[in-house]
Symmetry: C4
Subunit: 295 residues, 4 copies
């Protein structure tokens, strides 16, 4: 079913990486630069992430002796340092997620480079080292992103949707390991409702969202894939939803056969497999300069 399967450690059948995007109000600030001070309810909805959900996640993950990956915009690192420190103290991995949740596909290469620089500065100032992982805000990976990221020393990206397995994007000066995601395992389509964001959608019960997630996990387990979630603390960190997904995580762990690992650890494994000649990654050929020339 899955092309080019990678051998997982310890004979695991599949790999599961629970990853979170701690956007806080960064996307709202980017979208409503002038008016965001007035959008207090939506701000509190989003602030719930770093203020309430992150300490809770740290606690429940500590109980399970698990570490996971959290992508954070630079502006959020600056505004919510306590959440960042808590994650670091507990061994979680922090990736970068823009500076102000910029929509990279709508700005110039120069603006994107500036956003990346500001994000990196905020990251390094708090974390003390450079990030290895990147997720483009809103998955807005632009045609300039790969080279900018490679030049900035990133090792992996997790924003694209073109495969079920880790793969590789080669750029001018190096390469990125890509860990593909999909809207399906993002919690946004299941839980988001906000006029300020333009999402007027029904909200699923936790067990209905878990139906969707569990089908994705089952396929990874059956066929040897890498299941990567994109969850938001302000959505999935609410008690009812967190209970439901922890139940799923606990079922996965009890069943055995799945390697639960943060993306950084998966990156190390992938590089080791490549170095050992045990696996050759597929390349997707980014950037693809084949704009239709039909006019």
């Amino acid at each position: 079913m899955l092309a080019n399967p990678i051998p997982w450690p310890d004979d695991a059948r599949c790999c599961v990486s629970i990853t979170w995007d701690i956007d806080a109000e960064s996307g709202l600030a980017y979208r409503h630069r002038e008016g965001m001070e007035q959008l207090v309810a939506t701000r509190t909805q989003l602030r719930y992430g770093p203020r309430i959900a992150i300490p809770r996640l740290v606690e429940v993950l500590r109980e399970r002796e698990m570490v996971q990956t959290f992508f954070v915009p630079g502006w959020v690192i600056e505004r919510y340092p306590a959440a960042i420190d808590l994650l670091l103290e507990n061994g979680h991995e922090i990736g970068l997620h823009g500076y102000l949740h910029e929509r990279m596909c709508e700005i110039s290469a120069e603006e994107e480079a500036t956003a990346l620089e500001r994000g990196l500065a905020a990251y390094v100032a708090r974390v003390g080292e450079r990030p290895r992982g990147w997720r483009a805000p809103g998955f807005t990976f632009s045609k300039h992103s790969a080279d900018l990221l490679i030049d900035a020393g990133f090792r992996y990206d997790s924003s694209l949707m073109g495969d079920d397995m880790p793969c590789v994007f080669n750029g001018r000066n190096g390469r990125l390991i890509e860990f593909p995601i999909d809207w399906t395992s993002d919690d946004w389509p299941h839980y988001m409702h906000s006029r300020d964001f333009g999402f007027m959608m029904p909200i699923s019960a936790p067990k209905r969202a878990v139906e969707v997630y569990e089908a994705e996990f089952e396929a990874a387990w059956r066929y040897g894939g890498h299941w990567v979630t994109v969850w938001h603390p302000f959505l999935s960190g609410r008690p009812a939803r967190l209970t439901a997904i922890l139940d799923l995580v606990d079922r996965i762990r009890e069943r055995g056969g799945a390697w639960l690992a943060p993306l950084g650890a998966v990156y190390d494994h992938v590089e080791a497999m490549i170095a050992a000649g045990r696996w050759t990654p597929t390349e997707d050929g980014l950037p693809f300069h084949d704009r239709p020339d039909i006019d």
Copy 2:
């Protein structure tokens, strides 16, 4: 799971506050000031609230000896006095909900103050005393709201989404107790369908909406939280839906361990706990003047 839990009365595990927003046509009138006379079907859809659903709610709650909290815009108080009187005669709590369901985040501080004054005047004229509780129309709590509400003598707000437990907002001249809500326990995403409001969404079966609510209640029950609903009489007061949520309420009461109380009573309890030194509320730090200064 929940930070800073408050002790509930009589050793209850958790607290449940069923609250309702009686918007009637106020939001439609605010949105379609000129054309609302023509939108007769949508008006009847909304008028169902105070005309049909409120007497029904009063009856089923009387049978259960329960009192609940109803937030009402001043304009609705003036147009539907019989519904207000019926609620008052049966001991229900009435909070204020703007004058014409204004979107406070889109108007100036002066306009917001005027709306608040008009709402208060309508409230006092009918109820005979000032309101203690406020819910911002459409959750459009602005950066001016906290101080305006404190200066007007409000004691609590229930419009924001930043916590699972009661918390506190300090303003210039005092403080507000905040009872957080969330879109999840609002019936709008589950039941609303209206072109005139711009909500073209599927409509859930009552048992599917109850799946969502029950998950929220279960989490409150398990972890000691405060579950606050935001229901609309014109949506959830329809017979099929009311039957389903009354079944849920009856299950909650039969199970025991949950304190079902209107927000005013919860407010009194919270203040008593604070006064007795038995609980220290978390503060969210509104208004937060940290607009991104990145241009």
Copy 3:
């Protein structure tokens, strides 16, 4: 639970009126006057109603010896005379539904009067008598509709959402019996998907839509109400959906206690109950000239 219950015939507990709107392409023609010739797929989607679903409905209802109510715009009567004749030959009731599915709330009183006249002319030319029942296209009942309809000799309307039971609207020169509907029992929110109409929504499985309908029926059965559906032959007349709702109708009939009747028969019953002094209808007070005067 229900205010002002009406006694149903033969000691029935409740009343069920399955009603259909045969819009065909009228709404598309009204919305895309210039471009509709190009929208062939959407036209065929809509033409499925009178061409395919109506003969099928006539057949399955004949097997069950049931007659139902079909609301049809005048333009559809002119374009699909065979469907109308088939319904008439089988004893079904036909109500009027505008001429070109006009959005009455967006046009002047004169334009509405013209649309009504054209609709009546088309109706009388085919049916041979004047209609008794009306449903406003898209539920766009305007502030002028009640008087226009009364003056045109209509006896009842079924477009508004303000009650669970038949009620009355008094106009200048007479009154209309109103049979309230609601979006909930309309099949549009459950089954419609169309870019040309601006409805980008998920599509429910028939059994999920029936969950919604059955809850509405159960409430009518339990509390003595009048359940009125608003179904569209092009949506609910598809085989899988029709099978599911016929199963529901058959369950309702086997259970007993429900009077299944077209709206015209319910109208006769309501008038007889009023004449006999056995029931006094509630009045909703249309037109309601209480536009907020707050500027």
Copy 4:
């Protein structure tokens, strides 16, 4: 239930045609001609179709000894020749789907003719013969399409929604056999989520989408119809979803009584039935020049 049933081969009760649209980035390129290079994530989401899902589909269909129908825009044929060759080598049928997924209803007859020509040129260059089948991109069959397709030698279309059975459209110089589809059996309403396409919708679990499909199949099986799916490799070719629909296909095959066939084979059967005088197709009368003349 179904009018004008056609006798299926080998006494089959019904016919099932699984068809796929391999859009890749063609629709995105048509919609965002200037900006598509920047929309890398959405491009990878769409590229998943020909790159990942097509080899997978070929493999699972080979295991089942099934051939199916794939509609492909000319631009996709040019950009993804390996996917096309793989399908051809495995005996699958390829139909045409525009050149750049043009919205035919929004362009002139001349522009549509040009798009068709370019599509045909790309098709013939790769496949070596002219296509027999057509599906209009996004179902945007225009009033010019029937004659353009007939003149170009197409034998059948599968873009319209006006029937449950094969039917016929007569044009100036010949006729097209039509295999009707419906949004219901399209995977887009169940699985699509994309800001770049303007679809902000919840995403169904595979078993919930299969509930919808299975109801459609059951109706075809019960009443003798022709069930035609419209699936997209980038959506339904993901492992969890493909597993769920393969389970459905396997249940259908094990049960017996359904003829699973690509549209080309159904076309041959339909023509043979007509030639043998064993079946007379219904005609829908396209193009229908009855634009409302009411101004």
